[in-house]
Each structure stands twice: as structure tokens, then as C-alpha cells.
């Protein structure tokens, strides 16, 4: 869906999304990474469980929510990528956290 055509000067680091390791630039927004990672969505809604992906990228739409390092409902457009970050797409209504 989206790509990064240039090598950036940012350091490439691994991020684990739903168990799969993808490479990302350290410090870029996690939502950007999710928009270039198949199957291109971050969550399903708690109302109808329809798929949503990052839309506004500036913290006002709340469609880029995902589980980041065990914390649910995180706005991934506000989270800079760190090496080894573990991300899970969020499905429907979240469970009461453990």
C-alpha cells in the first residue's frame, strides 16, 4: 500500500507485528510501518469488527489503535519505532487486561 523509496539515514531496526518481524526505521511512527505491512490494517472496530487502518496520522481519528508491548488501544501514529517493539493488531472489544 505504502513504501519508502529511499534509504533513510535512520537506523533500521526489527519490529514484530503479529509474530512477524519487519524492518523499520528507528524513530519513525509505528502507524507508517503498519501501512506498509500486509494486510494493511491495525484494528477491527469494537462495534462491527470492520477493519481500520491509520487515517489521520496526527492523533485525532483513533483508527490506528493497536496493542503495543502488551498495552492495548495505543495510538500507533504517536509511537516512535524502537528496536524489538512487539505489536499486535487489535480485534474488536479488547479483553480486560491481564
Amino acid at each position: 500500500m505504502f513504501v519508502r523509496p529511499f534509504d533513510s539515514q535512520q537506523k533500521a531496526v526489527p519490529v514484530v507485528i503479529d509474530g512477524e518481524t519487519v524492518m523499520a526505521a528507528e524513530g519513525e511512527m509505528l502507524a507508517s510501518v503498519l501501512l506498509r505491512t500486509v494486510p494493511f490494517y491495525t484494528r477491527t472496530t469494537p462495534v462491527s469488527e470492520s477493519r481500520r487502518a491509520p487515517y489521520c496520522l496526527m492523533g485525532v481519528c483513533f483508527d490506528c489503535l493497536a496493542v503495543v508491548d502488551g498495552v492495548a488501544s495505543v495510538q500507533t501514529c504517536l509511537v516512535p519505532v524502537r528496536a524489538g517493539m512487539r505489536v499486535e493488531r487489535q480485534h474488536g472489544r479488547r479483553e480486560v487486561p491481564l
Binding site: 500500500m1 505504502f2 513504501v3 519508502r4 523509496p5 529511499f6 534509504d7 533513510s8 539515514q9 535512520q10 526505521a25 524513530g27 519513525e28 511512527m29 507508517s32 501501512l35 506498509r36 494486510p39 494493511f40 490494517y41 472496530t45 462495534v47 462491527s48 470492520s50 477493519r51 481500520r52 487502518a53 491509520p54 487515517y55 489521520c56 496520522l57 496526527m58 492523533g59 485525532v60 481519528c61 483513533f62 483508527d63 489503535l65 488501544s73 495510538q75 501514529c77 504517536l78 516512535p80
Partner: protein, 466 residues
């Protein structure tokens, strides 16, 4: 406990940066808070990150102009609280802020809101599908990741931002499928009377004309007077369709659609704090009522930048300057007459920076369809409430937006009505034959940014321990 700052500034874009720098020059203690991890706001997103050559070039001179002010501010001695979200503000001013896992409170006698604008809610059928991204969002990805759509992309909308984005995209080697220009054709004749006054800002007009010319030169399809668009697909965008005013629907396959219908001031904080607002028919938005120094109807609470009304980056910077002068005066750092003298030159520059605005506002006035979307269009993205459900609920007793919110759940989700508030107000205005200003807006309540019960409870423990 260490004494708090004299002034808290919310938002580190052009307005907040200029105000912070100026206040530091006057010896005022400033705490500057922003939810991004670096300075720059949205217009200069990622300005403190070193970009590679092609990206730097594609972003252009206006973007690079942010680097200097950022460096100056860094050296100014302002306390910076970055990657920090403010979820509630109480009179006093007590600002509740979350940084990483830590929650806390900052207090100051003066609060300056410089938290900018957001893209105008732009509902159309299918706008919630993965693959539909706002143009502003796409540009943020460009600035922060050098990220572009993988395949030739359709852009739909109106305003300077799509033109700028497309120019930047092409400069980076990105590919466009076409531009669906949604500005109504009649806008042109309505904008024309504002043209002579806009000539004071000829540089901005020239910039816009150049973007348009560059776009035309590529030969990609530019389809004008598009009245309606639709996105379709299972689980993600597969097809887009559009209809020109008075024309037939035409559809084509698409993987990504970038959409934009202008920007509106972020008014959630000022609404939550009960400030007076006015409906601005020229920009089709609410804006806080401000005095000459940017002070709201609540004493000690100031607004600068696009949050005061859309004016662009340069106007935001100047409003930041002027407001800072006003705040320094309030704090006794300068006399009334000295403040008036200091503000003279930025006020003159502000008038120049705003000269093109009436022309641009008229030229890019959004098409009416985005305010009264088709019946089955999802209006509230969070709670998935359609235009029809909103109209049906409002029909019962001719209710206002808050009753409609209560009955439909529109505006009750985590975005706090940022994506549906205007649409709900417009739908009711149309149904009840009122002005949007008379209909009003949702009653805004905390939290304005996400916060967990654990975060809140931590503050209770802290309070009890005192």
C-alpha cells in the same frame, strides 16, 4: 515542590515555538508541551530529524525554514515536555499531562493553547476503509518516514494542501493516478472579488499557481468540479467512484485514496474550558473569541496559531509572537505602551500573511456534500453511526447535538467527536433550518487524550499522600 513556570504553552508548532522563544527572551519561565517527540508541529513535522537529500529537496524551502527556529528554541532555556499528552485542563491553570507511563500536573497562571488545527472531517461512503488516508496523514508519512503510496495514487479534495502534497510526491518520484478536484466550480467567481486584496500576498498566490502548473505539466488527469466520491471494497479499498456536478458516476480500481477538504481549528480544549466561540462562516468552523492579544473569554487563557482561525504557518508564527508580547505585558514584563509598540511590526506582518485568506477561503470553500453526506455514510467513525441515524434521532423533538449524541452514540467514542462533530451540527442545521452557529457543537468533556484508569488512580494515591 519546585515552583511552576509562568506560562504553559501547549503545542510546539510555529505559534508555540515563536511564543516560547519570545517569552524566554523576556525572561519568562516557560514549559512547552507537545505530543510529538520533537519540535515543529504538523507543518514542520520531523524538522529536527536529518533527512536525506531527495526528501529534503522534495519538502521544499518553507519546510526547511523550521529548522532555524527549532534550534533557537532548543537553546532558549524553555522547559520542553515532548511526547506528552494533555488529557485535561482545570482552571488555575492545572494541566494534566501524561509522558510515557508517568502522569502528572503542571500549573501556571497563564496558559497558551497553540495546539493548531486538524483536517476537516470529510465523510463520504467508504471513508473508513483501510486504504483511504487523509492527505495530511500522507504528508506526515512523507515528512517522517519518506513514505509514499506504492502505486499511482488518486488524490481527492480541495485546498492548498493537496496541491503541495502532490508536488512533493512528484518531486520524490512518487506517482499520481489523478486528482479529483472537489472545489465547486462556482467558487471561482465568488473568490474573484477577494483577489485584489489577496495580491498583497502575491508570493503565496504564486506558490499555489506554481504547484498547479507543475501538476498540469505532468499530464495526469485533473478532474474538476467533483461533487461526490465513494470508496468501496471488502476489508480494504478496491474501487473508487466519483461524480462530477450534474454528471454520471464513474468508477475505477484503486488501492489508496488520499482525501482532504481543508483544515479547521482544534477547539476541543477551548470548548471543554467553556470559552466563548463564534461560528466563522468564511471558514466554516467554530473559533474561540479572542481579544487583540489572543486572550479568550477566560482570563489568563490565550490561543495562538491555527487554533485561533486558519491562517497558515506564517500567520501562526506571528500570532505566537503577538500573544507572547501580550502575555509578557500581563506578567508585568513590559508596559502597555511598550507592548503596543513591540506588537506593531508583527501585527503589520500578520495582516500581510492573512491577506490571501479570504480569497483562498472562498476559492477552496468545501462542497456542501461533505456536510450533509448520503444517508448510509458513516458519520461517526468510532461508534459507526450513519447520517440517517443522526437525522432520525434529531427528528424526535427537534433535538440539539448533545441529545443526538445521547441517542445515537455519535461522538461518544475515543476521538471525542473530532471526526463527527461538525457533520452532526451541519446535519441538524440543515434539518432544522438553522445556522450551524445556532445549533452549536457537542459538549466537550475530558479526557481530551487517552488516559487509563491506572493513570488516574495514580494521581489519587499521590493526592492522598500529600
Amino acid at each position: 515542590m519546585s515552583p511552576g513556570p509562568d506560562v504553559i504553552i501547549l503545542g510546539a508548532g510555529p505559534a508555540g515555538m515563536a511564543a516560547a522563544t519570545r517569552l524566554r527572551d523576556c525572561g519568562v519561565a516557560v514549559t512547552l508541551i507537545d505530543e510529538q517527540p520533537a519540535l515543529g508541529g504538523q507543518i514542520w513535522r520531523g524538522i529536527e530529524t536529518s533527512h536525506n537529500g531527495p526528501l529534503e529537496n522534495a519538502l521544499g524551502k518553507d519546510y526547511r525554514a523550521g529548522a532555524g527556529p527549532a534550534a533557537v528554541l532548543r537553546a532558549s532555556g524553555a522547559e520542553l515536555r515532548l511526547a506528552a499528552q494533555v488529557w485535561q485542563i482545570e482552571e488555575g491553570w492545572r494541566v494534566f499531562v501524561k509522558t510515557g507511563d508517568a502522569v502528572g500536573m503542571v500549573t501556571a497562571p497563564i496558559l497558551l493553547l497553540a495546539s493548531g488545527a486538524q483536517e476537516r472531517p470529510n465523510p463520504f461512503p467508504g471513508w473508513t476503509l483501510p486504504g483511504v488516508v487523509s492527505v495530511g496523514g500522507a504528508q506526515i508519512m512523507l515528512k517522517t518516514s519518506g513514505q509514499v503510496p506504492e502505486n499511482p495514487v488518486w488524490v481527492a479534495g480541495s485546498g492548498p494542501l493537496p496541491l503541495l502534497y502532490m508536488t512533493q510526491l512528484l518531486a520524490l518520484g512518487g506517482r499520481l493516478a489523478g486528482y479529483l478536484d472537489t472545489a465547486p466550480r462556482e467558487n471561482f467567481s465568488k473568490a474573484l472579488p477577494h483577489f485584489p486584496a489577496a495580491l498583497t500576498g502575491w508570493r503565496d498566490l504564486y506558490k499555489g499557481a506554481r504547484w498547479l502548473w507543475q501538476l498540469r505539466r505532468t499530464g495526469i488527469p485533473v478532474i474538476s468540479d467533483v461533487a461526490e466520491i465513494e470508496a468501496k471494497g471488502n476489508d480494504r479499498l478496491e474501487t473508487i467512484a466519483y461524480r462530477r456536478r450534474g454528471g454520471e458516476w464513474i468508477s475505477m480500481p484503486a488501492e489508496v485514496l488520499l482525501a482532504h477538504e481543508g483544515v479547521v481549528p482544534g477547539v476541543h480544549f477551548t470548548l471543554a474550558l467553556g470559552c466563548e466561540h463564534d461560528w466563522r462562516d468564511d471558514q466554516l468552523c467554530f473559533a474561540p473569541r479572542l481579544d487583540d492579544w489572543g486572550e479568550t473569554s477566560r482570563e489568563g487563557l490565550f490561543v495562538a496559531g491555527d487554533g485561533a482561525g486558519i491562517g497558515g504557518a506564517e500567520a501562526a508564527r506571528l500570532r505566537g509572537e503577538i500573544t507572547a508580547i501580550g502575555i509578557a505585558r500581563r506578567l508585568g514584563k513590559s508596559s502597555e505602551s511598550e507592548a503596543a509598540r513591540l506588537a506593531k511590526s508583527p501585527r503589520r506582518e500578520l495582516a500581510r500573511a492573512l491577506a490571501t485568506r479570504p480569497f483562498l477561503d472562498a476559492l477552496y470553500r468545501p462542497r456542501p456534500e461533505i456536510f450533509v453526506p448520503a444517508a448510509e455514510t458513516v458519520v461517526c467513525r468510532c461508534e459507526e453511526v450513519t447520517a440517517k441515524q443522526i437525522l432520525d434521532a434529531a427528528r424526535l423533538g427537534g433535538s440539539g447535538p448533545n441529545q443526538v449524541k445521547a441517542f445515537t452514540r455519535a461522538g461518544m467514542g475515543p476521538c471525542q467527536g473530532r471526526q463527527c462533530g461538525y457533520t452532526v451540527s451541519h446535519l441538524l442545521a440543515r434539518q432544522q433550518d438553522k445556522s450551524v452557529g445556532d445549533v452549536g457543537f457537542f459538549h466537550i468533556r475530558p479526557p481530551l487524550k487517552p488516559v487509563s484508569l491506572g493513570d488516574l488512580a495514580a494521581l489519587h494515591v499521590e493526592e492522598s499522600a500529600l
